[in-house]
Amino acid sequence: MTTKSPLGTAIWEADRHLDTLEAALQDWQAAPAANLAVLETDREKLRILDQLLFRFTKLQDAMGQRLVPATLAALSEPFEDWSMIDRLNRLEKLGYLDVDAWLRWRETRNRLAHEYPDHPETRFAAIQAAVAAARAMANAYRAWRAKLNP
């Protein structure tokens, strides 16, 4: 592997997660589970969902931890001392992301990391919301990448 800029590295990493995420989104869409009972008895669907949510988490981490600072650095923004929310707000002003959507995806991600005592219908609705969030975030990353046009 040749030496890459921080931005090149961030994109390379995010692209890998995007590829697998989009494949999982396609597989899920081809045969989505109708409810939690169906999902929990179908190993193939569970495998697809696990892959989808894992890559959603990984892509989000790659964007938050590497693409955000690398993009600001590439734009010569003096971001080093800024808080995360200030960095996000600046990127929103520059047209790279929607902060409200980003914070909702953060909440969805954090929720996936913990077990909540939700009712089954609520748990299934949360899974569907996470799949929708993954799809929206994949699209947002594509738009971000296109805008950078490195």
């Binding site: 808080s83 409200d100 914070l103 953060r106 909440e107 609520t122 299934f124 609705a125 569907q128 919301a129």
Partner: protein
């Protein structure tokens, strides 16, 4: 109760943006204990009417995202249980028994 005025104000504003009038928001869990430090913010939201699962998830997501924006990202757990509807989950029973009312959304 260990919440700063700024945190209570943020919860009040976010609740008004995300939940119907007369919804009540209570604090429960470790933040009620003055002898401890830090910890998750555990909130019980009781709307006047039940929400469909999809709507519940959507509003909870929006509510917590609004709090992230003002307070920074942190562990915030939100239970949404319609007011007056029996719920036998131990965490809900404890939250209803011990929770401290923070705000009620006005119409």
């Amino acid at each position: 109760m260990r919440l700063m005025p700024k945190e209570i104000a943020a919860i009040d504003l976010a609740a008004r943006e995300c939940f119907a009038p007369r919804s009540m928001v209570r604090l429960f869990g470790s933040r009620l204990d003055d002898s401890r430090r830090g910890g998750d913010i555990d909130l019980l939201v009781e709307p006047p009417m039940p929400l469909k699962p999809q709507e519940l998830v959507e509003r909870r997501n929006r509510f917590i995202a609004r709090l992230y924006r003002v307070l920074g990202e942190r562990r915030i757990d939100v239970l949404i249980v319609p007011a007056g509807v029996p719920d036998e989950r131990p965490v809900v029973r404890a939250a209803r028994r011990d929770g401290r009312l923070l705000t009620q959304v006005t119409g």
